[in-house]
């Protein structure tokens, strides 16, 4: 085994660290700004940012108002951005993701430095990884996958430690990373399931011989605690312990609800073997450098096993996630290969110059391969991202929502509105102050009445469907369902309501404002 020789003078906080961080952030930040400038807007980013606005705009600060249907850690990271100027605020999900992407590259640089790679080599490797399209897509698409990449890298570092040290801390690290991952990324469950059969490749043989169940238990337990804890919170704050997987809005179910509209799931959903093999193939095309890593590790059995895990893990996870109708596109899982490759390079001994050239060539080939996989059957969201990346100015898909948000901003009166349907409008409004949103007691109280007593009600056209896309590039089912206001008052959009007059009607939104009791205002009168 090649152990890392720790240089006592080596410090994480150094000028070189700052340099690499600045370089990485520049690459990623510039890309994100370029995309935003070309009107690439992630619907998921809007959704998450709207939740922050709703949380901070509510009368009392309650984290449960964020909803428990998706991992919370990325949302918490957005909270500080609420206090920034309005113009920067909506870009927060992109910035946070870029910061974590840059942080990951910086940590990796430190680990390369420990392996005694020169600064020039490290800069080159960092750039080659950073410009990989899957890495760029993950970090700059507004879904905060930068944080997920960091967690995946930590998972592999823990695995590397397990291979090298095989001590108790390695197992604890693995367990804790998986437990923490659950609060960062919905994919954790599949990443975990795919990891289990590979564990014998990296866990110490004597322990597995003595008690394989114990090895699995010690790694699994923290994740189980996380899931039980989350289920308990759902029991306390939502409609039951398993609300976070049963709800139609649950992102823990991935693309399951949209299966008919997802090409990948239509073709392979419920199947395991085929999607897994295809994912392997896509993984190799997008990261051929993995083959190099395996070839380089072949002389060291433990290294080889570790690298094989890297090769197999995400393909396996894609297979599981597709079988469970979770995954809408293999790239949504395989982008994590970037972190795996980084960990794989750290796992290997320091490469001599001529072999380093081979590594660089393969990293460069990976960039090309990455583009090939990204343009292979891209989802709508991917397609827009690629166009924006190429410099195409995209059209505003959500002009109706933007318009409503701006109108609500100009007409600030207490308004009943379903945030599941109106999150884009909330973002356009800039805050949620004065809005009665679905989680608030006033919203629930108001909906109990046949004749609500509220200043203003905003309602979405129940027939509206604009093919909105989520981060997985699929139509949002939330937009196919009537919003909660319509569910309670089915005729409101069409006919209005006694005691209310129509004050806004544009695209697919209408707003009714309360008038005196005797006045009956209908759509026709407006």
């Amino acid at each position: 085994m090649h152990k890392v020789r720790h240089d006592p003078d080596l410090r994480f906080l150094s000028f070189q660290t700052f340099l690499i961080f600045a370089l990485s952030l520049t690459i990623l930040g510039t890309t994100a700004i370029w995309l935003l400038d070309h009107a690439f807007i992630s619907d998921m980013a809007l959704n998450r940012w709207a939740k922050i606005l709703a949380l901070m705009g509510a009368g009392d600060f309650r984290l449960e108002n964020l909803g428990l249907l998706y991992p919370h850690a990325p949302a918490y990271l957005l909270i500080p951005f609420y206090y920034l100027p309005n113009i920067i605020k909506p870009a927060a999900p992109y910035f946070v993701s870029c910061i974590f992407g840059a942080l990951l590259l910086t940590i990796w640089n430190y680990h390369l430095q420990e392996k005694r790679y020169a600064l020039s080599d490290r800069v080159l490797m960092v750039v080659l990884v950073a410009i990989h399209p899957l890495f760029l897509w993950a970090v700059t698409s507004g879904v905060q996958n930068g944080l997920s990449l960091v967690m995946f890298y930590l998972l592999y570092l823990a695995s590397v430690r397990l291979i090298r040290e095989a001590d108790t801390r390695s197992f604890i690290m693995l367990g804790l990373v998986l437990a923490g991952y659950f609060f960062v990324d919905e994919r954790t469950f599949f990443i975990f399931i795919a990891f289990l059969p590979l564990l014998p490749l990296i866990a110490p043989r004597n322990m597995l011989d003595a008690s394989p169940a114990s090895v699995y238990l010690v790694i699994t337990m923290p994740l189980i605690i996380s899931i039980i804890g989350w289920a308990y919170l759902n029991l306390v704050f939502e409609n039951g312990a398993w609300h976070f997987v049963n709800s139609p809005y649950a992102s823990f179910r991935g693309a399951w609800q949209k299966t008919p509209d997802v090409e990948w799931l239509r073709e392979y959903g419920g199947d395991f073997l085929k999607p897994m093999l295809i994912s392997f193939a896509i993984g190799i095309v997008s990261y051929p450098v993995i083959l190099w890593l395996i070839a380089r590790a072949r002389r060291h059995l433990k290294l080889l096993r570790g690298t094989e895990v890297l090769f197999v893990h995400l393909g396996l996870a894609s297979g599981f996630a597709t079988a469970a109708f979770f995954l809408s596109h293999p790239v949504d899982m395989l982008f994590l290969s970037a972190a795996g490759v980084m960990a794989g390079i750290v796992l290997l001994p320091h490469e001599p110059l001529w072999k380093r050239r081979g590594l660089y060539a393969l990293l460069l080939a990976s960039v090309v391969g990455g583009w090939l996989t990204l343009i292979w059957k891209p989802t709508e969201e991917m397609h827009r991202w690629i166009d924006a990346f190429r410099g195409v100015q995209l059209e505003d898909k959500f002009a109706g929502d933007t318009s409503l948000g701006q109108w609500l901003n100009a007409n600030r009166v207490p308004t009943l509105i379903d945030d599941h349907a109106a999150y884009r409008a909330i973002v356009a409004r800039g805050d949620a102050e004065g809005l009665l949103l679905s989680f608030s007691p006033q919203f629930k109280t108001t909906l109990r009445s046949d004749h609500p007593y509220i200043e203003q009600i905003a309602v979405l056209d129940p027939m509206y469907s604009n093919r909105d896309q989520d981060a997985h590039g699929q139509d949002m089912l939330t937009q196919r369902m009537p919003d909660m206001v319509t569910q309670r008052y089915p005729e409101l959009y069409r006919k209005g309501m006694e005691g209310y007059r129509l004050v806004y009607d544009k695209d697919h939104w209408r707003v009714y404002r309360r008038v005196s009791k005797k006045t009956t205002v209908t759509y026709n009168q407006y």
Partner: protein, 631 residues
């Protein structure tokens, strides 16, 4: 008496071994073996033969008197002139194995089991040039010392710490200042509760939530630090093998026992099995004088001369630390350790401690070995008890050492430098967890405690009532320790530093507080769970609710996990699933904590005796044969 007249103890012409053979007391073969061991151990041949039990002590010392051409006296029949004995010199009497016996023919005669020039020099300094000596048995000497000075030794055992540093003694449970602070605190709380009931309860609840959060935080840090494989003083087998037995010092082993006569054969076996030259072991069986059964059993065993019976006279408080303090008066080792009667230390533990002391700084005065249980799989209680101990000794204690937080020593297998132990006044006889208190006191006095990678296997309590008794004593002792060291918090902060101070607050204080609070929190939780009551909701504003939920789910969840990891590290794989039941164990701890609290107020120095030797765990070893190769 010519040797003494000429100023020293001259070497006789006939060697002791030959003399013993000529008297038919030992065989030539035994002498040959003893000579080999002498070359290896560097001990005197007589000590080796006594340690091996090849010759009876009485016969040996009689032969020794012939060897030195001095009379042999039986001190039981010819007791010393007590006017010659000076209690202040008892340490020297014990160290050099002599006492001033009588005045005869114008000379002051010493009775000794170890004629040396050093002894005579000491005698001359006390009684002038005209001194002489006779030979007697070591056991007669010890008996006489105890018999004549028991008041002095007893007083020392009880009061030396309280007299020397009263601020470190638990003799006074609450100081006046502490009573004032507690009274004022309770009064302010009650007044506030009357004036602003809800806000007061919310504030109180917030403090509890925050406290538990920090308490969990500390334990998480400790577990993380403790999981480092390089955390404790690692002594390798190679280092142990490289030790030269000749260089090893005398090692005192204190074994306090009470009504544990059944365990004696196992204890003797465990001691004999230690990989340490027997002739350099100074084993004290510390027995209460009213424990006639154990005293009789010890005599019947016919134990080798390394085992000395120390009879502790009755005095209050009747506690283990007082007994150990008493026995310490007779200890002759450079190092001293304590084992319980049922303990099974790993054979090389003493050697590892010697190596560890040589590796650490001079300020390190105590090395704690790890404790675990041999009957871990006996019933549910022993299983979860083992989980707790594995976490405690394999993770927490090494981490406390690494973070420079006071280590509450375990009850046994702590190895001390004798000099330092005596310097700090040894154990506090009024503290029922004297070991934990001593660890904190060491740190407060600028001394360090280390942890070594050697394990002593004990008997886990397998009986619920017995466990409650034991745990109530431990928690009462923790309360005593906390109160003692918090008499002057500023001084404590200055002496321990921020890490040590806060570590002490949460590790010692936190252990007690969390066990006292737990029933209320669990009670609220289960009432809510079963009834869906909203009665408690006002007490949990959002932030408090989130912290409480974190404590409930993540905090408790990870404490359960850590118990699991403890078993994993120990290779107690079969115990891992039982970690899920640890919360039940916590409730039992709360019961014990309240019992301890009650006793702290009503009977603070009462020693809740743990009954040992009740395990059904079968020990199939032959207790008549040692296992260690070197012995």
């Amino acid at each position: 008496m010519s040797n003494a007249d000429t100023g020293g103890v001259s070497a006789p012409k006939l060697r002791v071994g030959d003399l013993l053979v000529s008297k038919g007391l030992v065989t030539n073969e035994q002498v040959k073996t003893a000579l080999e061991l002498q070359a290896k151990w560097g001990s005197r041949i007589g000590d080796i033969m006594l340690a091996k039990g090849w010759v009876k002590a009485f016969d040996f010392y009689k032969a020794l008197s012939d060897h030195f051409h001095k009379p042999f006296v039986n001190l039981m029949q010819l007791p010393p002139d007590v006017s010659l004995l000076n209690p202040e010199d008892s340490e020297a009497y014990n160290a050099m194995l002599f006492i001033p016996w009588r005045r005869e023919g114008g000379k002051v005669v010493m009775a000794t089991a170890n004629p040396t020039d050093e002894m005579l020099e000491f005698a001359r300094r006390r009684f002038g040039e005209n001194v002489d000596y006779v030979v007697t048995s070591k056991f007669d000497l010890l008996w006489q010392l105890q018999n004549n000075h028991d008041g002095y030794f007893s007083d020392n055992a009880v009061n030396i710490l309280a007299n020397r540093t009263p601020e470190h003694s638990a003799r006074q449970v609450f100081t006046e200042k502490q009573l004032i602070v507690i009274t004022v605190g309770v009064a302010v709380f009650l007044m506030s509760l009357t004036a602003w009931p809800l806000n007061t309860l919310i504030a109180f609840n917030s403090l509890i939530a925050l406290f538990l959060l920090l308490n969990f935080g500390l334990r998480a840090i400790l577990a993380w630090v403790g999981s480092d494989r390089h955390i404790d003083v690692k002594v390798t087998d190679h280092q142990v093998a490289m030790l030269n037995d000749r260089d090893l010092p005398i090692y005192t082993v204190l074994v306090p026992m009470y009504q544990e006569e059944k365990v004696l054969p196992k204890l003797a076996y465990a001691i004999r099995s230690l990989d340490y030259p027997l002739s350099k072991l100074d084993v004290k069986l510390v027995l209460e004088e009213d424990d006639e059964a154990t005293i009789a059993a010890a005599k019947e065993q016919g134990l080798e001369s390394i085992f000395e019976i120390i009879r502790v006279p009755h005095s209050l408080p009747k506690t283990k630390p007082k007994a150990c303090n008493y026995a310490l008066n007779f200890a002759r080792g450079k190092y001293v350790t304590i084992y319980d009667a049922e303990d099974r230390p790993e054979p090389d533990q003493l050697k590892k401690a010697v190596v560890a002391f040589s590796q650490v700084s001079e300020e390190t005065v105590c090395i704690q070995a790890r404790l675990n249980y041999f009957n871990h799989n006996e019933n549910w209680l022993t299983r979860v008890f083992t989980l707790e101990y594995s976490l405690w000794f394999d993770f927490y204690l090494p981490a406390l050492e690494a973070l420079n937080i006071p280590i509450p020593l375990g009850g046994t297998s702590n190895h001390f430098k004798m000099e330092a132990l005596r310097k700090v006044g040894a154990w506090d006889p009024f503290n029922v967890t004297e070991d934990a208190d001593l660890g904190v006191r060491f740190t407060q006095l600028g001394m360090h405690v280390g942890v070594v990678n050697s394990t002593t296997y004990e008997e886990a309590n397998n009986h619920y009532g017995n466990w409650i008794r034991q745990r109530s004593r431990w928690l009462k002792g923790y309360m005593q320790t906390y109160l003692v060291h918090m008499r002057s918090p500023i001084k404590l902060y200055r002496s321990l530093g921020p890490a040590g101070f806060w570590g002490f607050q949460f590790f010692i204080g936190g252990t007690v507080m969390s066990t006292l609070i737990a029933p209320f929190l669990f009670g609220m939780f289960f009432i809510w769970l079963l009834t869906g009551s909203i009665f408690f909701e006002p007490l949990f504003p959002p932030l408090v609710l989130y912290i409480s939920l974190f404590n409930l789910l993540i905090g408790n969840g990870y404490l359960v996990y850590l118990s699991m990891v403890g078993a994993f590290k120990r290779n107690h794989f079969v115990l891992m699933p039982y970690a899920l039941t640890v919360p039940v164990y916590w409730i039992m701890m709360s019961l014990a904590a309240y019992k301890g609290l009650w006793q702290l107020i009503h009977n603070p120095f009462y020693w809740e005796k743990t009954i040992h030797g009740i395990t059904r765990h079968e020990d199939h070893r032959d207790h008549t044969q040692p296992v260690s190769s070197s012995n």
